[in-house]
Amino acid sequence: MKPSDIGILIVDDEASVRDALGKWFKFDGYRVETAEDANTALQKLQNSAWDIVLLDIKMPGIDGIELQRRIKQIDKNIITIMITAFASVDTSIQALKEGAFDYIIKPVDPDDMSHLIRNAVEQRRLLSENMQMRCQIEEISFSDDIVGESPGLEKVMEKVATVAPTDSTVMIRGESGTGKELIARSIHINSNRRYFPIITINCGAYTEGLLESELFGHEKGAFTGALYRRRGKLEMADKGTIFLDEIGNIGIKMQMDLLRVIETKQFTRLGGDRVVNVDFRVVCATNKDLESAVRDGSFREDLYYRLNVFSIVLPSLRERKTDIPILARYFVKKYAQSMNKNVTNLTPETLDLLARYEWPGNVRELRNVIERAMVGVRGSIIELKDMSFPFTPAAAVASGDDVSLEDVEKSHIQKILERTGGNIAQAASLLKISRLTLYNKIEKYQLKKM
């Protein structure tokens, strides 16, 4: 911020003070105006933007305290500095309590004045920067890599918008590579906890002992190698969100511990006895069939219900094929920027190939395929010859011929539902799955219950 970007308004009924201060700030290059009373000041505040207002506490008519209240109503981020004589220091303290940045007692030492203004400008700069960053966060909240226009994705985003502002626990289901973590981040960024961290832990990546230490932290000497006290992920997520990825992979003991901490929001670090209170929201994700795990006893039913308060099922990429060209072009644009390449599109043949492929790795696989193509491409358009699939193109399904397992499952469930006239219990019994699993399949495939 250059001094000329900073607007200072001086409000004082004494002309000599207005003139002297105005001149002083003009020499530093600030944009300065003066007002002899509160009404003139309010007029100037309405007409243009001001960063710092210096205002005399004692003025005829509306005094400085009341003027400050009105200024804060116009823009609570305007820095206010009170000008006072010794006699009204108490009033200055009241002004500070009501949001004044500082106060000066007349006459003030030039050096103190310089420091005060420098600090006020810095404070204003930080506030502006903070506001800009908040706007940026809000702008990116729905944009970062969650791309597409398919009904399946739209339904997911509607669910995100519904659940994000609440504090409910969310379970995200979907195949590997469908973007479960992005959805978790989107929920966090659109929640009231967005200015606090989202801490991710991949539960499948740790042994039970390590996961315990990662989540709860440990005291010095809690175990061999615990040389220092370490905060766990749950503590780090205080006031924010903890994203428990691959929740279906945790052991029975850890499930019990996790259930307790989710319910009480209290825990003790490993090797410690002090209870730590935390305030976090839980978002978890899995690509496992948790219902089966509950049935066979490998996943606690009480934890399952505690986590599955609100469920979001992400469609696989083959279920949202209309999004493939949009995603492909999005990744081309993204990598063109990061690789500094002038690549703008893909040929229709390439897009056709991408649309026919089954994408077992979902969006992640598509992203990697585009990235690889971008590395090798020489022209401005990605052609068939630039593509190299991790699976042979033979895996691409000739439309209408071969049918995927999921398509078979979808079709079979629909048939059973039709046969039972939409009776869920009967259909579940015929299919030999739980009613809950059937409900999840119906939601996943968007089947008609008849």
């Binding site: 001094p3 000599s16 002297a20 001149k23 020499f27 290059g29 006459p107 030039p110």
Partner: protein
Amino acid sequence: MACIYVVPIHAVSQFWREPLEAGIQKAFGIESRFAGNWPIDLPRAYDKTRNQYNSSDILLQLISAPLTGAGKILGVAEVDLFIPILTFVFGEAQLDGIGSVVSSHRLENKFYGLPDDRALLVDRLIKESIHELGHTFGLLHCMTPACVLNSSTYMEDIDQKSAEFCSGCLHDLRPRLQDFQSGKGIR
């Protein structure tokens, strides 16, 4: 040709006169003239509650009836100067105007209980005079620490900076000096 008038204000000693005139000449390339009999009513500027002199009042007197050919005026006082909101000032100037005033009062070592140092006093007075005159040419405070237009709120600040303009300020000053020397600066 326009010149800079140096006006001693009830100054008892004027040992600074020659080095100050040389300093101004070096900084601005403009001739300075000494105007010893300028009528300034110093008691008028005196504030007995503060036991200081209002620099704005002195400045007003300096510019109220400028001498013919006076492009810029620099008043040099020995008394302690103030402006209403501040406890003191080393000097004051009109931004892009004609008048400026400086005081040697707080530039003297003895004010801070230190041994008298006349050479240091002259050095500080030259810097503050060039600083205030720079403002009369429309220049603002400069962030470059060594530039004479760097803002000084302590005497130590004055000692740290040089008596010269930085390249940026010099760049801004040159066209204004040309205007001044071609007569556009004469009021």
